[in-house]
């Protein structure tokens, strides 16, 4: 019978040691001999308590919006596309929290569904920016002088354009859609990441640990990926949040002009321009989408401020 029990239990390899404690000791980092290094939940708690109130509010709002974006199809919402032509341009009521638009569609439900395209756009834009900007900055910072000069002049060239104008140029070639709009914005913003990363890489390049690993025979690629990049990512991470909040606004602006999300799909920017046509009948409709864009963009940048505080602390 004892053999049967052993199947269910973990084999005893601790040799009399108390396993949970042993694990904790193994995971403990150097510098905390008692093994009480903050991990998991406690680490999050200490991060939470060291950021400002504004950043906390921003974080909560961002989490709520992202959850709304993910859960929109399963939430008990009205159909964002269902038209009720006998109830157009309605003010806020218990049935329609934010009123109805010019086709009688429920504005609240359209706002909630609009979070999807807005945050999707931010993610696409950021992915493009990072994929282009990080190698660009690394090569400029770690390559030779000539390469550095060429890459940075190219960055200057791209950055001297008004972003929205250059994005419109790209869209005129690629055709209007949310993805094209956000890819264009991502490309336009990439040199900013490249510049920042280059300026953080330059001092790290001469740091002792980089020299040491070079002396130990590590390849250039290994030095860049294992030692330089992780130490240079802090500022880029912070900038990612400011860019995210800018992308949200620019994405909304491009939808506003009709080059982002295509109707009838719900989007904050396009809904704003539609509501504007009926401002005299229903002024509330113009206020809501703009306010939501403002809150969402502010929240992302507030989270970024919090991340900066944490990066500076570490």
């Amino acid at each position: 019978m004892s053999g049967m029990a052993a199947v269910g239990d973990a084999p005893d390899t601790s040799g009399g040691l108390d396993i949970p404690d042993a694990r904790r000791h193994r995971r403990a980092r150097p510098g905390s001999p008692d093994g009480s290094e903050e991990t998991g939940w406690r680490r999050w708690r200490s991060a939470w308590s060291s950021i400002s109130v504004a950043s906390r509010i921003g974080l909560v709002i961002t989490i709520v919006f992202v959850l709304a974006a993910i859960l929109a199809p399963v939430l008990p919402l009205q159909d964002p596309l269902a038209q009720r032509l006998n109830a157009t341009n309605g003010g806020p009521s218990l049935h329609h929290f934010f009123g109805t638009d010019y086709l009688g569609r429920d504005v609240f439900s359209r706002i909630v569904y609009g979070t999807r395209s807005s945050y999707e756009g931010v993610v696409v834009g950021l992915a493009v920016t990072m994929i282009i900007g990080i190698p660009w900055g690394l090569v400029a910072g770690f390559g030779g002088t000539v390469l550095d000069e060429v890459l940075m002049r190219a960055a200057d060239g791209l950055l001297s354009f008004p972003a929205i104008v250059l994005a419109l140029g790209f869209i005129s070639v690629l055709g209007p859609s949310l993805y094209h709009a956000m890819i264009a914005i991502g490309v336009v913003a990439a040199p900013a990441v490249a510049r920042l990363l280059r300026s953080t890489v330059l001092p790290i390049r001469r740091a002792e640990y980089v020299l040491v690993s070079g002396a130990l025979g590590a390849s250039r690629l290994r030095i860049v990926l294992r030692h330089v990049l992780p130490n240079a990512m802090g500022p880029v991470l912070v900038q990612g949040f400011s860019l995210g909040s800018i992308f949200l606004i620019v994405g909304a602006a491009l939808s506003f002009l009709g080059f982002g999300v295509q109707p009838p799909a719900p989007s904050w920017g396009a809904d704003l321009v539609n509501a504007y046509q009926y401002f005299v009948v229903n002024p509330f409709g113009t206020v809501v989408p703009g306010l939501i864009i403002t809150i969402a963009a502010w929240s992302i940048s507030a989270v970024g401020d919090g991340v900066r505080e944490l990066v500076l602390l570490n």
Partner: protein, 362 residues
């Protein structure tokens, strides 16, 4: 100083060449290349067979020189640009330069007007908030300017047009009267767009001047001015403002870039026939010679303003004028200046980046 200026000019030329390569290159992003795109457009009205379309692509490729090596094509295009040939619009068949010429006046009026408003309002307010930085009034004004930056400008424009145009009827919500119709009617249609466009730049000017002025007011030489018993007006204007105004000069090209982006949205909302609406229509029609020309124009304008700002610095800053420092050394450039994209809209993080600002203001 001459070598400084020569070096700076060279930088501008290189930057513009990089821009031109980018602008020339983007037509090759079209699936199938430029000729296929023109054929697609031509095909819309007619019923062409596949073979005819293929022959059409061939013919057009030869006609537009698309069979030549790409550097020859680039050189021909650049040569055309220098001679003022930006191609013809696919849509209206008019030369791009003609269209730009027709559309330039309202946009320039908007941009120059908004720039003037933002400087005339922003500089006194920036000074005032710096002088009164410990009082409630200074902090309130600064907080309001912070809000102005984080609110999307196209929403502000919509609300302005709706409230003052559609609801109150103080100004027309849409429409445009050219300057040739008289200054009165012109201003009546333009004042609301100009004020709308100037909101975000004004906030930028306030925050940047506040930042530099606050630092200057804490400096030893301003303390010396006070100790010499100078009247406060002289301390603020002669000692402090003169030294604090540098960042505003380097901010101007950034503001111009921001305004160029802003006019796109403002002209769209107020329905003003300027360059902004031209680019929106061109994008709607996939008229890329037109967008190419307009994007190039925007790049050239910003590059020229960048150059002017740097030349102004090299003239008015004695360290550069006497050759003891380079433009990039004098600390009037904000770190955030070049590193901030998407300035066409509210650049939320621009002024909130204290680390970047501090390292560059000496």
């Amino acid at each position: 100083m001459l070598t400084t200026i020569a070096k700076r000019l060279l930088t501008s030329v290189i930057t513009l060449l990089v821009c031109s390569v980018l602008i020339f290159g983007y037509r090759y992003l079209i699936p199938g290349g430029p000729a296929a795109d023109i054929t697609n457009l031509a095909e819309l009205g007619t019923s062409m067979t596949k073979a005819q379309a293929a022959r059409q692509v061939q013919a057009l490729s030869v006609r537009f020189g698309l069979k030549k090596p790409i550097y020859v094509q680039y050189w021909n295009w650049l040569d055309g640009v220098f001679h003022g040939h930006l191609g013809t619009s696919f849509f209206s068949q008019a030369p791009v330069t003609t269209v730009i010429g027709q559309r330039m006046a309202p946009s320039f009026e908007l941009i120059i007007g908004a720039l003037l408003v933002s400087l005339l309002v922003g500089v006194p307010l920036g000074m005032y908030t710096a002088i009164r930085r410990d009082r409630a009034i200074g902090r309130t004004l600064l907080a309001i300017s912070g809000l102005q930056i984080s609110v999307p400008d196209f929403w502000l424009a919509t609300i302005n047009a709706a409230v003052f145009g559609l609801a109150l009827h103080w100004f027309p919500a849409v429409g445009y009267q050219p300057l040739s119709a008289g200054l009165g009617p012109n201003l009546h249609t333009m004042i609301l767009p100009i004020l709308t466009l100037s909101i975000v730049p004004t906030a930028f000017v306030i925050r940047h001047l506040n930042n530099s002025m606050t630092q200057v007011l804490r400096s030893p030489y301003v303390r010396t001015c006070w100790a010499m018993g100078l009247p406060s007006r002289q301390v603020y204007f002669n000692c402090a403002l003169r030294n604090a105004v540098g960042p505003i000069i380097t901010l101007i090209p950034l503001l111009v870039a921001s305004l160029l982006g802003g006019t796109v949205l403002v002209e769209y909302i107020f329905n003003i026939p300027g360059l902004g609406t031209a680019i929106v229509t061109a994008v709607e029609n996939q008229d890329y010679p037109m967008t190419q020309g307009l994007v190039l124009l925007a790049g050239v304008i910003v590059a020229v303003f960048n150059l002017l700002a740097d030349l102004t610095i090299s003239v008015i800053d004695p360290r550069v004028r006497k050759g003891s420092a380079r433009i990039s050394d004098v600390g009037w450039r904000f770190g955030a200046r070049r590193a901030q994209p998407a300035i066409g809209l509210a650049a939320v993080a621009e002024v909130r980046e204290p680390a970047a600002v501090r390292e560059d203001v000496v």
